[in-house]
């Protein structure tokens, strides 16, 4: 298989290592060192995509990150599909499988192209907004059709077999870009002993030096690149990252680098190797040496395959040994554009002409072209290209000195390739990421980085500095400045001598005029990837969009995965002209992260699958797993939800667990409750200020329930605190509220009451809490302790330090079920031992493990609230009917007191928590159901509350619910209705939320 556009010699490819790859189902050959793009061009493939809106055939335009068209789908198998890969940045490997993504059914014959043929009027800017947004309900349908037609690539349907990595890095100086400026800067900082990271998106360092034939110190530039790279590699504190795109520049010099570790090797990464790595870098100083992108000119049909930027043509010839055509026309506004003609000519192929917009160009490259006998047409431009799937010819016309109109007749030239150069646009993307506004520089005809608060330096092309000698010097100087800024002494660096190429002044021109007005001329593309034309931008301006940000959103300019790297400046120029403003007056859009697309895998790193979020386990977790528990997520905790036995459904399991607790004894793993150890002589005072009830008289050995409110008076957590010693308390919090409560206590202590002598420490993980509950719980406890746990010696709301199953324990006699309950707290290392001993001793009492759902039912039977379920941040203790838990006698105005006395908090008819009893005892109201007083009221019905907790009570034989009703505490016995989404209405009676044992006698058995 031959590669028709491959040169016999030259370039940085290894012709002794041929590689086979697949493109659109056909096999081709390339070489080690190729990119997928260079290999595609070598094989003479012209069309790589169909355009987004008009479905026009598109070819490769550029040679780097700015490529808008060659966006391919990669992957040899379903699992390894990767969308949105720029062929210009994908190194070729043996067995690479690629596919064009646009085009339905394929890129060569696209049924959608009829739309493009009909012409632009069918799809003007704003087309999608105007046509598809209404009716809104059909947008989803439209969107899927548009997406299919636009072909944005696709995600794999199977799991990615590879793993990805996130690494945190720190350095003194991060240098972005390893072209001449970056290398000179890196050498300078590395020799000074700084910690350096040098990152470049390409496989080799050298940047543009690899794309030219220029020399340094009379040697090929690559010799200097190799020497510098070798020296850098010798330093321990220098990290070299090729194939690594600096993708985001964030606040305080936080920079993300996307390294493609094995994308160049194979379809699936080698075993135990990360496919890609995201470096999260904190750099003291950043040197941006990101270079510049060449700007194409805007002329009619400038998107026909064969139209390329001039520098890319040189890159393919010099770096990859590929001449991407046979007959070249160059259309340029500057001297640099001649370089591709020189390289093309020297590669032995025909240069038809160089068309220069300037009337009298003077410069060394122009002289060199003349010496080679290349035809130069001055004061003219290529105004239109002929061809559909490949350039077949060009129309050349003379244009006015200001570039605004065609002044002469049109000449047609035969050619299959057009190289275009409208000058260079500095790659200012990263400097824009943190909000720095770019500044227009008339001299270089481009935007350069603006003022920034980042510790950022710039060197080379990003500043509009394009001559190698000057670029090297800027790199050196940036390096010296960085060295000084990080407080080191600079070592000496001698720069190599670069060739000095004399150049003439470029002409400022972006949009080439046509014989017809822009709106009627064949399409002149500004943004290839989103199919934005000069006419479209003019139309947007005519329709009244004046801000460049609005023009951008209306036309979609710069919205593609390439972020308009090639087209944005041209688009601003077209808009500026249409608005009769200058480019700086029009302004620029701001680039955002990421510089080039990044895979989700690299962002996620290892935080996926089982490691997506931490799972927290108690010391008895393995027992629960072995017992077949179903688990519920409570924060990050995995708590047993219920323990089904063979053949049981959830409700049957809950019924059995509930009855076991009510009739004998059950056990709950309550270890997840937040626990805070509080010590200090002011601990008691502090509790009194933070809880709504009184703590002054709680004796050592006693426990008390407390409500915690915000300053607004609204309940946000609750729990039991025990007085362990005169200066020592143990506070418990809800499982989900543990961290928040601890921070809340610290907040008040550190910022409001630092004079209080008290310390808080979390002991949540330290204690295992084993709650045995039920009329037989005392008998069970007695089996495992010698201590006197009789009602007389160990009363309700006492705690005791005793030994349980041989393990020292703090046992709290409190109750959340209404039954006699002992919460056994042992150091967590011994939790499993005590748990198992309880089951050994508990068999005779049918000790039954129960989960959170049974706990919820049992507490609801007793009317106990769950903070976060029956509260939502808008209810205070009185709303909950828990005024008994508020002490307004306390001398200190505790947190929440003033808030709950606000006018709105003391008004009548607030929503209050009540019990809800359905008329049909078998019906369980869905939680969240809204209450109405008149089910026949017209919609929208006035709603008077909602259900917060609702269960089937096996013990009571009917459903129970709690919920809010406006003025509910005064409406006992009244009827409310719960209309459901399916049209049914549940009738219910307002009642006390305490459905069981209102006098609390059961816990005193």
């Amino acid at each position: 298989m031959t590669q028709p556009n491959r040169l016999q010699s030259g370039g940085r490819i290894d012709r002794s290592k041929p590689l086979t790859f697949t493109y659109n189902g056909k096999q081709y050959k390339g070489y080690q060192g190729d990119t997928l793009a260079s290999a595609i061009l070598a094989n003479g493939i012209d069309v790589v995509s169909r355009s987004f809106k008009y479905s026009r055939p598109r070819g490769i335009v550029a040679a780097g990150a700015e490529e808008p068209n060659a966006i391919l789908q990669l992957g040899a198998s379903e699992a390894t599909q990767v969308p949105n890969v720029r062929a210009t940045q994908q190194e070729l490997f043996n067995g690479l499988v690629s596919q064009a993504t646009n085009g339905w059914p394929n890129v060569d014959t696209d049924v959608m192209s009829i739309i493009g043929k009909v012409g632009g009027k069918m799809m003007p800017p704003g087309f999608y907004y105007k046509t598809f947004m209404f009716p809104e309900s059909l947008w989803n349908t439209y969107e899927s059709l548009i997406r299919k037609a636009a072909g944005m690539g696709r995600s794999p349907l199977e799991n990615d077999p590879d793993f990805y990595d996130n690494v945190n890095q720190h350095c003194d100086v991060l240098i972005v870009g390893a072209g001449p400026a970056g290398l000179a800067a890196a050498l300078t900082v590395a020799r000074s002993g700084a910690r350096v990271i040098l990152a470049d998106e390409q496989n080799e360092f050298g940047g543009n030096l690899l794309s030219t034939k220029e020399t340094l110190d009379g040697q090929p530039a690559s010799a200097w690149v190799n020497a510098v790279t070798k020296e850098l590699r010798s330093y321990d504190d220098v990290m070299l990252l090729p194939r690594s795109t600096v993708n985001g520049y964030h606040d305080h010099n936080f920079v993300t680098i996307h390294e493609r570790c094995t994308d160049h090797l194979s379809d699936i990464a080698p075993v135990n190797q990360a496919r890609q790595r995201l470096h999260r870098v904190r750099a003291k100083w950043v040197v941006l040496a990101t270079g510049a992108h060449e700007r194409p000119l805007v002329y009619s049909n400038n998107d026909v395959p064969g139209c390329m930027v001039s520098g890319a043509v040189s890159t393919y010839i010099n770096r990859y040994g590929v001449v991407p055509g046979n007959a070249l026309v160059v259309t340029t506004t500057n001297d640099y554009g001649y370089q591709s003609a020189l390289d093309w000519h020297d590669a032995g192929r025909k240069v038809v002409a160089v068309v220069d917009t300037r009337a009298n160009p003077v410069g060394e490259r122009i002289e060199a072209a003349r010496q080679r006998g290349i035809k130069i047409i001055t004061g003219s431009a290529v105004i239109e290209v002929q061809g559909s799937k490949r350039v077949s010819g060009v129309s050349v016309a003379t244009i006015s000195a200001d570039g605004n109109k065609v002044t002469g007749s049109v000449t047609k030239l035969g050619a299959d390739t057009v190289a275009t150069s409208g000058g260079w646009s500095p790659v200012i993307h990263l400097s824009s990421h943190t909000g720095s506004r770019p500044i227009w520089n008339d001299e270089i005809v481009g935007f350069v980085p603006g003022k920034t608060v980042q510790k950022q330096l710039t060197a080379g092309g990003i500043n509009g500095c394009y001559h190698t000698g000057a670029v090297l010097l800027e790199g050196l100087n940036a390096g010296l400045e960085a060295v000084a800024n990080v407080g080191l002494n600079a070592a000496e660096v001698v720069l190599p001598t670069a060739e000095d190429v004399k150049e003439g002044a470029p002409m400022t021109l972006f949009h080439i005029p046509h014989l017809k007005p822009t709106s009627q001329a064949p399409k002149q593309f500004v943004d290839y990837q989103t199919d934005v034309t000069a006419a479209g931008i003019e139309l947007a301006c005519r329709e009244g969009f004046e801000s460049i940000e609005h023009v951008k959103r209306y036309t979609a300019m710069g919205f593609g995965t390439d972020q308009g790297k090639l087209g944005n400046i041209n688009g601003m120029a077209v808009a500026a002209k249409a608005l009769n403003k200058t480019i700086p007056e029009t302004g620029t859009t701001i680039f955002r992260p990421n510089y080039t697309p990044i895979s989700f895998g690299a962002i996620a790193g290892r935080n996926c699958g089982a490691l997506f979020d931490p799972k927290r386990y108690s010391a008895m977790h393995m027992w629960h797993v072995e017992r077949g528990a179903k688990f519920e997520d409570v924060g990050q905790w995995k708590r047993p939800w219920y323990f089904p036995q063979a053949g049981e459904n959830m409700q049957q399991s809950l019924d059995r667990e509930c009855l076991a607790v009510r009739q004998s004894v059950g056990i709950l793993d309550a270890s997840t409750l937040g626990k805070i150890d509080i010590q200090g002589k002011d601990a008691r005072e502090f509790l009194g200020r933070i809880y709504s009830n009184a703590w002054a008289k709680l004796a050592v050995g006693k426990c008390r329930y407390g409500l915690m409110c915000g300053e607004d008076g609204m309940v946000f957590d609750d729990g039991v605190s025990a007085c362990l010693g005169e200066n020592h308390f143990l506070m418990t919090t809800t499982t989900g509220g543990a961290a928040r409560v601890l921070e809340w206590l610290e907040l008040y202590h550190q910022t409001e009451w630092p004079e209080l002598e008290v310390y808080f420490n979390t002991v949540t993980d330290h204690w295992s809490t084993l709650t045995i509950s039920g009329p037989n719980s005392r008998k069970l406890l007695s089996e495992l302790t010698d201590a006197d746990v009789t009602n007389e010696n160990f009363s309700f709301m006492d705690w005791k330090q005793i030994t349980v199953a041989g393990v020292p324990a703090r046992v709290f006699r409190i109750s959340f079920t209404g039954e006699l309950t002992f919460e056994i707290n042992v150091q967590a290392n011994y939790g499993m031992h005590v748990w198992k001993q309880l089951f050994k001793a508990g068999a005779q009492y049918n000790l039954t493990p129960y989960g959170t759902e049974t706990m919820h039912i049992l507490r609801a039977e007793k009317g106990f609230i769950i903070a976060g379920q029956d509260t939502d941040g808008s209810v205070h203790p009185f709303d909950l009917g828990m005024g008994w838990c508020v002490s307004n006698q306390k001398p200190f105005s505790y947190v929440g007191k003033r808030g709950m006395n606000r006018q709105d908090c003391i008004r009548e008819n607030r929503k209050q928590l009540v019990g809800i009893k359905t008329k049909d005892p078998k019906v369980v109201i869905p939680e969240g159901a809204q209450a109405v007083l008149d089910p026949k009221a017209p919609i929208p019905m006035p709603m008077v509350g909602h259900v917060t907790s609702s269960y089937w009570s096996a013990h009571l034989g009917h459903s129970i619910a709690m919920g809010f009703i406006k003025g509910g505490l005064t409406k006992m016995g009244e009827t409310v209705y719960y209309p459901l989404a399916d049209g049914t209405v549940i009738e219910a009676e307002i009642c006390s939320p305490i459905f069981l044992d209102p006098k609390g006698e059961r816990q005193n058995v």
């Binding site: 964030h250 606040d251 305080h252 010099n253 936080f254 904190r282 943190t434 909000g435 608060v453 300053e711 607004d712 921070e743 610290e746 907040l747 550190q750 910022t751 409001e752 630092p754 105005s893 007191k897 003033r898 808030g899 006395n901 606000r902 006018q903």
Partner: protein, 94 residues
């Protein structure tokens, strides 16, 4: 991602170690019960949202668990200074 100097740990740490708590220097009224609803509402709910210099309360949640203050420019996220609870800022809005 901010890089924040913890005045207690005496070194820079990543933002993920910290929690932002809100506007700094909002003292709890000495006698809440003497406050009118309006005064209490202002203490509770009303906060500045300046363009430029802003004093904020942060806590080194994953580190030393100490609260401290940050003076930050809300336009460019530049942190002007950090200072401990009880100290006064030296950088203030003009």
């Amino acid at each position: 991602m901010f890089h924040i100097y913890c005045p207690h740990c005496a070194e820079y740490r990543e933002e993920e170690e910290f929690h932002a708590v809100g506007q700094a220097h909002i003292a709890r009224p000495a006698d809440p019960d003497a406050c009118s609803d309006k005064e209490w509402g202002e203490y509770m709910f009303f906060r500045k949202n300046p363009r430029g210099i802003h004093h904020e309360l942060w806590v080194h949640a994953a580190g030393c668990r100490k609260f401290f203050n940050i003076t930050r420019d809300t336009q460019n996220y530049d942190i002007k200074e950090v200072y401990k609870i009880g100290e006064k800022p030296s950088v203030v809005a003009e």
